[in-house]
């Protein structure tokens, strides 16, 4: 009989020992760092290979890259920023591919760990995006960007003391925070969900009588793996689309 489910402590799920380098040092290298490096190399190689062949009828890597760039161009940039946002396409495409590949390691055997389930990755990406949309705002509107961002025109003067703090909080603090936390919490939740069902499967496998419900638990695990592939894609999409919306909001003063 099954008596109790030994769920591993959360540290065992997300903290990985260093492959080399002492713990806590800046050059320590563990699984998360390796996944990030792989994502960087795969993204660069994919675009390098696809960029070399310039055939009119694309196939292979060129086909994949051209259709995904087209997807981001039509589905994200033109929908949220319009034609003048096309020049920010390279940032958004690299963001999308980097997040997608670091997320998809959640279901790749022998890794089974989304790199974005540690806060550092999403936080850095969110800070990049934060700096990017402030820089775009400064470039397009000059120093008036900060005034336009916190005090939209058309607000009655009496309401300004209320509106300015709220707008300042939501534009410069809540935006990067929610970008980072959204990606982080989604990936961590998915990771914990998969671990829970894996632990359940192993426990049921050794339980004598309750082993008859093992197929149900295993089917759930397989189904959730498919679901997590979808979540990995969706989170990359949502991060990219929100980055596009934030950059687009810096292009012009709201009116």
């Amino acid at each position: 009989m099954i008596l109790g489910l030994e769920f591993p402590p959360i540290q065992n799920l997300v903290e990985w020992p260093n492959w080399f380098g002492p713990e806590g040092s800046w050059y320590g290298f563990n699984k998360i760092a390796f996944i990030n490096v792989v994502a960087l190399v795969v993204t660069s190689l994919l675009f390098f290979i696809a960029g070399r062949s310039k055939s009119l009828v694309p196939k292979g890597a060129q086909n994949l890259v051209e259709s995904s760039v087209d997807f981001i161009r039509e589905g994200i940039v033109l929908e949220t920023m319009g034609p003048e946002g096309i020049k920010y396409l390279p940032y958004l495409v690299s963001l999308f591919f980097f997040i997608l590949i670091t997320n998809i390691f959640e279901v790749i055997p022998f890794f089974h760990m989304p790199a974005n389930a540690r806060m550092a990755g999403p936080a850095v990406l969110a800070l990049f995006t934060w700096a990017f949309y402030i820089a775009v705002g400064l470039k397009h509107q000059g120093p008036k960007y900060f005034i336009n961002a916190v005090a939209p025109s058309g607000v009655p003067k009496a309401l300004l003391p209320l509106v300015i703090p709220i707008e300042f909080l939501s534009t410069f603090i809540v935006r990067p925070f929610s970008l980072a936390v959204r990606l982080f919490a989604n990936m961590l939740a998915g990771h914990i969900l998969l671990v829970t069902f894996s632990v359940l499967c192993i426990t049921l496998f050794t339980a004598s009588l309750l082993a008859i419900v093992l197929p149900l638990s295993f089917a759930m695990l397989v189904g959730l793996t498919g679901f997590e592939i979808m979540v990995a894609f969706l989170q990359a999409y949502i991060f990219t689309i929100l980055a596009a919306v934030y950059i687009g909001s810096s292009l012009h003063a709201e009116h």
């Binding site: 402590p9 959360i10 589905g75 994200i76 929908e79 949220t80 929610s178 936390v181 959204r182 982080f184 919490a185 989604n186 961590l188 939740a189 969706l234 999409y237 949502i238 689309i241 929100l242 919306v245």
Partner: protein, 93 residues
Amino acid sequence: MSILAQAAATAAEGLQKADYQAINGATNAGLAYGLAAIGPGIGIGYLVGQSVQAMARQPEAAGMVRTTMFLGIAFTEALALIGFVVFILLKFV
């Protein structure tokens, strides 16, 4: 019946302060996530329902509605995810 009560009493004596803290932490964590999930649950349901209605009424605007729907889901979902982070903090930290 008395055996059960006796067993419960022995079990209660065996609980240490750390156990009570663990019980409190688990209860509060469950409550925090449960409460945080109510609003976004209603919100996402309403949002997607309205989007489906919009897409059904105007199929040529489906692409635009879908983009906006994902945006809305992302904003609505944020509260539930902050609740999940609070759950992790209460339960494990």
